[in-house]
């Protein structure tokens, strides 16, 4: 009898271990190792598709009280009105509360407090931190010093994963799929972090890329090597022509900024070359959509706005749904 008793206790222990294992397995399945979203390249294809599916649910019904009783901190060490409003709207529509700041000059970091201390202090109050910082790597470091999830809302010129997620959502929504698309990126491909991240995000879906940029701002070798290693087809152009547009599904425009040029004559020469005008879209594909991370200055003429192929304003709205999905993902909330 005692023998049987011992055996069943042992069995229970094994069962307990097994259940624990299953629990850990389930929780590590998500892309976010420590539940934070710092960079798009930490997300697998499955992670991306799951987040996009959830974003689709939020588009059907953005107002769901999934964050009831939770507090999200939006720490904007560098101002970014658009991104902050989008994240704060997402938290509010999910029924959570927001604390935070939008200008580091009013906080103790201006008194010399370390980022680590600021993050640990806020971790005492909030369930989630959404942060934008002018220093590169700040979000990754923050995710290492605290146990609460961090969402990177941009760290210098490095990463801005929620932008990539909303770009991917916009692409899938307008094209009905992510696979086998031709994507043309135009403008500043050297410093534009959105285009670099989009290459990583799209790399799971067999894309073909056209990179259209002036010589000074062409796609860096690192991104081209990334494509080469994965067998992703890409073509480089310095001229922005209708020929390229006409074989494109997604036209991703970016801003050519004057301050990026060492040679201002070169800037004057190219500044009007990478402007999209409505007449250039005459023979484009029916399914073509024009995306832009915004803000735009003059790289898309205003006559394009009324073309049904212009999608940049709706694209920004998709940011709300993508961010609601990302917030639930890092908090482990089932949608």
């Amino acid at each position: 009898m005692e023998e049987i008793h011992k055996k069943s206790a042992g069995d229970f222990f094994i069962l307990y271990l097994f259940l624990n294992f299953v629990y850990i397995e389930r929780n590590t399945k998500s892309c976010m190792k420590n539940k934070s979203l710092v960079s798009i390249d930490q997300c697998s294809k499955e992670d991306i598709l799951r987040i996009l599916d959830n974003a689709g649910e939020f588009e059907k019904n953005p107002n769901r009280r999934l964050l009831e009783g939770k507090v999200a901190a939006t720490l904007f060490f560098e101002p970014s009105t658009r991104t902050r409003l989008s994240f704060e709207t997402a938290v509010n529509r999910l029924g959570g509360r927001v604390i935070g700041f939008q200008d580091a000059s009013t906080t103790s970091s201006s008194k010399g407090e370390t980022l680590k201390d600021t993050i640990l202090m806020v971790s005492n109050y909030a369930d989630l931190i959404i942060m934008r910082h002018y220093l590169e790597g700040a979000a990754r470091y923050a995710s290492e010093v605290t146990d609460i999830p961090i969402i990177n809302a941009g760290d210098g010129a490095n990463q801005h994963p929620s932008q990539t997620m909303l770009d991917l959502y916009s692409i899938r929504k307008t094209q009905g799929k992510l696979e086998d698309l031709t994507i043309t990126m135009v403008g500043d491909l050297k410093y534009g972090r959105t285009v670099h991240s989009l290459i990583v995000g799209m790399s799971h879906f067999n894309p073909t890329f056209h990179f259209v940029a002036p010589n000074e701002l062409r796609m860096p070798d690192e991104q081209k090597t990334f494509c080469d290693e994965r067998g992703i087809k890409y073509y480089e152009h310095t001229d922005f022509t209708e020929d390229v547009i006409n074989e494109t599904d997604i036209l991703y425009m970016t801003r050519v900024q004057r301050e990026r040029f060492t040679d201002l004559e070169e800037y004057e020469r190219v500044k009007n070359v990478y402007i999209l005008k409505n007449e250039m879209l005459e023979n484009s594909r029916d399914n073509l959509k024009i995306l832009h991370p915004l803000p735009r200055v003059n790289e898309i003429s205003y006559d394009v706005d009324d073309n049904p192929k212009a999608y940049y304003i709706q694209q920004a709205r998709n940011g709300l749904y993508a961010r609601e999905a990302i917030i639930c993902e890092v908090l482990g909330i089932n949608v």
Binding site: L115, K116, L135, E136, G137, D155, Q159
Partner: protein
Amino acid sequence: MSAEKKKELQVAAIENGTVIDHIPPARLFKVASLLGLEKMEGNTITIGNNLYSQKVGNKGMIKISDKFFKEEEINRIALVAPNVVLNVIKDYEVVEKKKVALPDVIKGLVKCNNPKCITNNEPMPTVFEVVDKVNGTIKCHYCERKIKKDDIIIK
């Protein structure tokens, strides 16, 4: 015992310890500093530079008595002198020859050369992933900047 070994032992035999051989002369003192030799007390240390070597022409060499390095201590040298050989000496015999190898991750040793990197603005150790062991390219774990071998700045 091979002729090469015999010759080496004849130069300056140590009973127990480590002989670091084939150090490029220009990197000798950097290697000494990375190993923290200036802080080492009680060990007899012999440093020779511009010694003749059949294999590499000129070379530097460091002999340290009664000191055996851990793997991660040795691998710090790999950043400045990738082809160095370590001889572990016990009872006047070379009992082990080790080639240094770049580790997968380098912690706290290298300065990130991106001024906008968080590691240059916050009191914290740097972390680099070695992305190309052949060419010695490393990547900052935080700002993701890639640094080529020749541009690496040791702290």
